[in-house]
Structure formats: C-alpha cells, structure tokens
Symmetry: C2
Subunit: 218 residues, 2 copies
C-alpha cells in the first residue's frame, strides 16, 4: 500500500492552506500525490438537478461521471470506510496519500499548531507524530517547522517514505504465460489487490499471496 | 466483470428520466445498481473554495472525501478511461452498471426514442441494441417498450444479465492457507483484479489468471 501521512490539527488552524503548499512541493520532486479529506458530518459533492445527482436520488449505490480529463465517483457506504481500504482501492496509482484529518488513525502525522487556535498540540509523541508545523516556540521532542519551511517538510516526507522503498514482487501468469508489467503498473496491481484483501477476516500483513482465477461465463 | 447496459439516445430525449424509473425497478428486485454518465465536454463536480477543491487546484492527481455515509473520489486522467477499466475498478460491488451514454461502446444498449427529438433511432441492430423504449409505433426487429413499461424492461435486464450468472472461480492463499471469502466478496476481488489487468498490453479475455505477490518492505 502507498505511504499515508495525516495532516492534523484543530479546526481552522490552517490544514488546507498548508496542504496547498505541501502538494506542489511534492509534485516538484516528481511524486504523484493523492489527498483524502475526513468529513465527519457528511458532505454534498454533486449539484442538485444534475444527471448524476438524479441517478443517486433514484437509489443507485454508486454513481460516476467520466470525461476525457477526469472521472468522479460517489459511492454510498454503510458506515465509514477504513483508511486502508480507501488507500488500497482508490489510491493505487499515487506515490503518497496525504489526509486532512484522521487524527485518530495510527498513521504518521504532521500537526499544524497555532496557539491562537488551541492551547497545546492535539497530538503527542504516542500519536505517531512526525512533526509539528507552527509559528510558536514550543518545547517538544518532535521536530518543529515554521510555516515558511514547507520544503523542509517535503524533504522529511521524501526521506522517510518515498526514497528507497523496497518494492514488493509481483508475477502474473495468463494461461501459464507471464504478463509483462512496468514497475508503476505492478505497484498499481499490488496496491489494488492488497487493498481489497486487507479488508477481509483472516488477513495478515506480511504474507505471501497466491491467487488463481478460473474463467466462468457471464 | 459486472454486466453493463448502456442507455442511449439523442440529447434531451429523456435518458435520465428513464433511468430514474429503471433504477428503483431493479433495486426492488434486490440488485445493487451503479450508474455511469458519459460526459464528453468535461464536468465540474466539486464546489469552488471547498477543501477538496483546493487540494485539486494545488495539483493532487486524485482527491477523495470520506464520511460515514458516502465517499467521493475525483481523479485526473490522461485521456478518457475505458468502460472496462471503470467497471472493474470502481463498480466491483454492484450487480449491474447502467450507463447514460456510451453509444459507441460494444455493450448491450437500450435506446430511448421520440420522433419529436430525432427522425429515427440512432442505433441499429448492429449496435448490440437490446430494446427501444418509445412512444411511437415503429417497425423494428428490436423489442419495443412504451415509457410506462419500465417493469418489463427491468424483467428483460434481469433475465438476460442478472439471473443464473455462472460465477467464475477464485482461490486466494495467504502463506499457503486458503483465505475464506463469501461469494459477494469473491466477485468484488475478481472484478477488481480483472479490471486492472484488462487494461494491460498482452491481456486476453478468457484466460486463467495466476498471481503471486511476495512481500517487500515499505
């Protein structure tokens, strides 16, 4: 699965503004970046009266709209999907997933902190906190960066998660003949498969996976 | 992959209105329905100024927002994704995918036809046309239904695509031990894997697939 880094902090502390600077800093370094916003209240993405909106109101569990430049999907879920499932299923083509929110997850976090918003950081070292981005002088064992040090934060993320990843191995045989795949495509396929399987009862992390599919008729 | 039926017809002939009736008729029969709108011009799904909109403007290749009741994803693409890829990657949990548009695909089609909009149907029997829904008396070898016969159209779709599907077989071993999966989950996993692999050079349809994944380190 791709690395996940959660950008956390109090409401209105500037998480989105920080992401607006961090994303291009990572793109410049040649990485593909996905983002995921945690919305606890529910959101309205589509526009009333649009065709896709009408499909959804008619009861379709999942609706999509595809154009030459982009695709959008809205899927109804029974309860919130896990971060692993989302990353594996929808972000298998990216190098890194940055989340806005998900402070309760166990993934590495960067907290945005301003004392005018909150008295003290909402995360401690036990929360897998990588760094604090702040305009304050705070006493902390966690590395601190100023709001003008986005490039340093990008360097840290690159060094920790993006360089020298040892790639897992993938072999796909079709009727006994190996299907050639570039590294990028291998990562995509592995990410997709592991993302699906990891949601199942009986899954454990570092195992060898062998899959056989035998054709049926539709 | 799940069955795909394309609802086609001239602009403003009533495709969305027909889908608004067909979707609940299929839901009533116990099927999970996904829809896909073909948009040749490009669309704006997100709202200006929202956090996800700002992530995308900052350059993220894929952005998502997740809440307890739904998840939405917007992904930038280089050219339009194929119907197979979209179905395999994003609709593996549904029983049926209904598209609005995609008249040039080779999938089975239902045409909505009104002579006040167009002189003659846009599809012929060569276009894999299953049925015409119309308020006209037209001479055609293709079955015709009136706009009040949505239940009959749903029956036809059910009979052709949803009943008695012979399921393909799936076996997943983790460290040599079989991972148990319900039929629904098997379909989900097979759909996801075939959806990814079918976009690759060297893929052909009815082969046996064997996949080995060996763990790396991240």
């Amino acid at each position: 699965m791709i690395p996940i880094v959660c950008i956390v902090g109090a409401s209105n502390v500037g998480k989105t503004t920080f992401l607006e600077q961090l994303i291009p800093a990572l793109l410049e370094r040649g990485y593909r970046v996905g983002t995921l916003k945690h919305d606890v209240h529910g959101f309205e993405m589509d526009r009333e009266g649009k065709d896709t909106w009408r499909h959804r109101k008619a009861g379709a569990q999942a609706i999509a709209i595809s154009s030459p430049a982009q695709i959008a999907i809205i899927r109804q879920t029974e309860g919130e999907l896990g971060l692993e499932e989302i990353a594996g299923r929808y972000f298998s083509s990216e190098d890194l997933l940055l989340t806005e929110g998900y402070k309760r997850s166990h993934y590495p976090k960067i907290e945005i902190f301003r004392r005018v918003v909150e008295n003290s950081p909402i995360c401690g070292p036990k929360d897998n906190l990588l760094a604090i981005v702040t305009d304050e002088n705070i006493a902390s064992d966690t590395p601190c960066f100023g709001f003008d040090e986005v490039a340093k934060v990008a360097d840290m993320i690159e060094g920790r998660f993006l360089k020298d990843r040892k790639r897992p191995g993938l072999l796909v045989h079709l009727d006994g003949k190996q299907l050639p795949m570039k590294e990028f495509v291998q990562d995509f396929v592995i990410g997709g498969i592991i993302g699906m399987l990891s949601t199942l009862r009986g899954w454990k992390k570092s195992g060898k996976v062998d899959i056989q599919i035998r054709p049926g008729s539709e």
